[in-house]
């Protein structure tokens, strides 16, 4: 049944369109491998500064640390300040980093109750102040959505100018990820009387830690 519907729908479509020759097909394939360059928003200045400004405008918080090894202490200071339990989920790909010893750490996938999760970004986008998370074995995607506080670790060198600039970085990964999450703000909804409420289903807070050191 499904096969014939496929043919039927494609047949309906072809019936409505102009016939296509071999040269047209080559041109279409060409358009996929080298798409047109469309309008991109122009902005000047330093990409890192722009990233920080945009992220903050979207109500994320941003902090700089010198090296990856400093992320644990930075997060610990937040937990201490908030009185949050030291029960932290961390993307398994970050297991090699030294984390505070008194933490209970889950290097796994997300659980129904997650106070804090730390995951690492493939890229940051200066245009919008977004972090880009790509799922893979060491980066379970659920961790980006389940915690109350989501800490996104971003290497400064991975901040790109435009949205378009993340695509080559993702294409360069060994396999195209199941999920690419472009995260630009904490979770919110306005579905009750158009009153903005944070969070809805995802994190209440998005804290972006920018690591200055080269990897």
């Amino acid at each position: 049944m499904s096969l014939s519907s496929r043919d039927l729908v494609l047949g309906r479509i072809r019936g409505a369109l102009n016939a296509r020759g071999d040269a047209d097909v080559i041109a279409l394939k060409q358009r996929i491998s080298s798409p047109p360059r469309w309008t991109r928003p122009a902005f000047d200045g330093d990409d890192v500064a722009r990233f920080v400004q945009k992220a903050k405008a979207n109500l994320s918080s941003v902090e700089f640390v010198a090296t990856l090894a400093d992320v644990g202490n930075a997060v610990n200071a937040i937990l201490q300040f908030q009185g949050t339990p030291r029960d932290v989920s961390i993307a398994p790909g970050l297991a090699h980093v030294a984390w505070p010893e008194h933490w209970t750490v889950n290097f796994g996938t997300g659980r129904p109750v997650e106070h804090v999760a730390i995951t690492d970004a493939t890229a940051g986008i200066a245009e919008t102040g977004s972090v880009v998370m790509c799922s893979e074995a060491g980066r379970p995607g659920g961790l980006n959505f389940l915690p109350e506080l989501h800490v996104a670790v971003l290497h400064k060198a991975d901040i790109v100018h435009h949205l378009e600039d993340i695509w080559p970085k993702i294409r360069a990964l060994p396999v195209w990820p199941r999920a690419v999450n472009i995260i630009s703000a904490p979770s919110r909804t306005a579905d009750v009387a158009q009153i903005v409420v944070r969070p809805a289903h995802g994190p209440k807070s998005l804290h972006i830690i920018i690591v200055e050191a080269e990897q």
């Binding site: 729908v9 798409p35 997300g110 659920g142 195209w176 999920a179 999450n181 630009s184 289903h201």
Partner: protein, 475 residues
């Protein structure tokens, strides 16, 4: 939700209800203020916005002109990455495909992200008939599901609901879930939704989402949300099903970048939403989460037939809702008045295409041809022109009598011009009263009875439109 139980040809009756509903009028006024201002601000802040609109139109036009090619390329990429693609010629077949996937997965619980096309095919009804527990996860859709209501806006589905109404619903349904006390605090209400739904995501066998776009280059479906519900739905269920119209495909990630810039600004006045997610196939080997199976249901349901003529332009629609936010008729009567899944200008064009001219009744006439919708549409769909063509077609096919055609159009036009209305009141009411005499459809047209106490009498009496308008605009 039984959106389909409301025949569009009763537009006029529901208009009356919409105009008389003070809560709705307050919500619509608030919506009008927020959305128009936010969009205006976002558009002004981006000097390239007009150029992006041209790009967006060009991208969609190119894709639609080669739709078979891009759908096949998309399909190849989905399959290459371990997913499955199903083609559905109509709503019934689309529901059957989803039901079969659920059955074969041994599913009991289904979570759903917001998907207008799933409303279009009445998927929830089909799944519930199979005994499945279906849970809408978008906060707005969840509220509507509790109230067994249809969305009244394609982006803000609950725009017609007041906090009090939601508080009552939650008290009734969440009482036994650990929330015995009634609350009217928006944050507390949403916290309840978060708590109630959190376990459902983990319990779900199947997670269904829509797609804002499909990218042929990578075989990805893209969803855009602020809540994060779509991601929890697609990540935590064993099986992820994407329900989508065939017109959602675009060629490449470069093209997607343009469409994303247009969508968030046009829909919400935001530069970008909290979450933009590309889902591509099931979990990879070694992945710790993500679905074991990934299915896409490509739904035609009238779309392919739109390719042949002028209505191809409607297939550019990216469901941003800007046209309804800027439509004086939508803003006067609310989304439910349209009686179709898709309200406002885009709905008035799309509904006859999907449900047939006859079913759409006078929807194409509920328009003042003021052109605002077209001027804000991010992909430049000439909505007034398409509505004019529909009227003409209906006229030719004699689906609508001259009286209905003239009457609803005249009402729509007058209803949005209070000053002129004042001048025209006497004559217009007399004419409409006459027009309505032998035509049942006119019995409750607002000009005739919308603001009278009696519902079935076209007598020109009671408060005038002017008074109603004044009441509504002055809180």
């Amino acid at each position: 939700m039984t959106a389909h139980a409301r025949p569009p040809h009763e537009f006029d009756a529901r208009v009356t209800t919409g105009l008389g509903d003070a809560n709705l009028q307050r919500s619509l006024n608030a919506l009008k203020g927020t959305f128009i201002a936010a969009r205006g601000h976002a558009v002004t802040a981006l000097p390239e916005f007009e150029a992006l609109r041209d790009d967006g139109k060009a991208i969609k036009d190119h894709t639609l002109a080669n739709l078979d090619f891009y759908l096949q390329r998309y399909e190849e990429e989905v399959v290459r990455r371990g997913g499955q693609v199903h083609w559905a010629r109509d709503a019934a077949e689309a529901c059957d495909i989803v039901r079969t996937i659920c059955r074969e997965a041994g599913a009991r619980t289904v979570t759903k992200g917001k998907s207008m096309v799933s409303e279009e095919i009445a998927l929830n009804d089909a799944l519930e008939a199979d005994g499945l527990e279906v849970i809408e996860t978008d906060a707005g859709e969840y509220i509507l599901q509790l109230g067994r209501e249809a969305p009244s806006h394609i982006v803000m589905p609950t725009v017609h609901k007041t906090t009090d109404q939601i508080a009552d619903l939650f008290q009734k349904h969440h009482g036994e879930l650990g929330f015995p006390d009634r609350t009217t605090d928006a944050a507390e209400l949403i916290a309840q939704v978060r708590t109630v739904l959190r376990d459902k995501y983990f319990k779900a066998d199947v997670g269904i989402t829509g797609a804002n776009f499909l990218v042929a280059e990578t075989g990805s479906n893209i969803i855009v949300t602020n809540e994060g519900n779509g991601d929890l739905t697609s990540t935590l269920a064993r099986v992820h099903i994407v329900t989508t119209g065939i017109e959602k495909v675009i060629p490449t990630l470069e093209d997607l970048s343009v469409m994303l810039r247009l969508l968030a600004r046009s829909a919400l006045g935001s530069e970008i939403t909290s979450y933009t997610t590309l889902s591509t196939g099931p979990r990879r080997s070694g992945d710790l989460d993500g679905p074991e199976a990934y299915h896409v249901v490509l739904i035609d349901n009238g779309r392919a037939n739109m390719l042949a003529g002028h209505f191809r332009e409607m297939l550019r629609c990216i469901r941003c809702g800007a046209c309804m936010n800027h439509c004086p008729v939508y803003m006067s009567v609310g989304g439910h008045a349209y009686g179709s899944v898709y309200p406002g200008p885009m709905g008035a064009v799309l509904t006859p295409m999907i449900n047939g001219h006859e079913a759409a009744g006078e929807l194409p006439h509920a328009c003042t041809l003021n052109g605002r919708c077209q001027s804000v549409c991010p992909v430049k769909i000439p909505l007034p022109d398409l509505l004019r063509r529909l009227r003409h077609q209906q006229w030719e096919k004699k689906f609508v009598s001259a009286k209905v055609r003239w009457g609803v159009g005249a009402w729509a036009w007058l209803a949005t011009k209070p000053r002129l209305y004042k001048l025209a009141t006497g004559a217009a009411m007399r004419v409409l009263g006459w027009a309505g005499r032998d035509k049942g459809a006119f019995r409750s047209l607002p000009l005739a009875s919308g603001w009278t106490k009696g519902r079935d009498m076209p007598a020109p009496q009671g408060p005038t439109f002017q008074e109603l308008w004044a009441r509504r605009t002055r809180p």
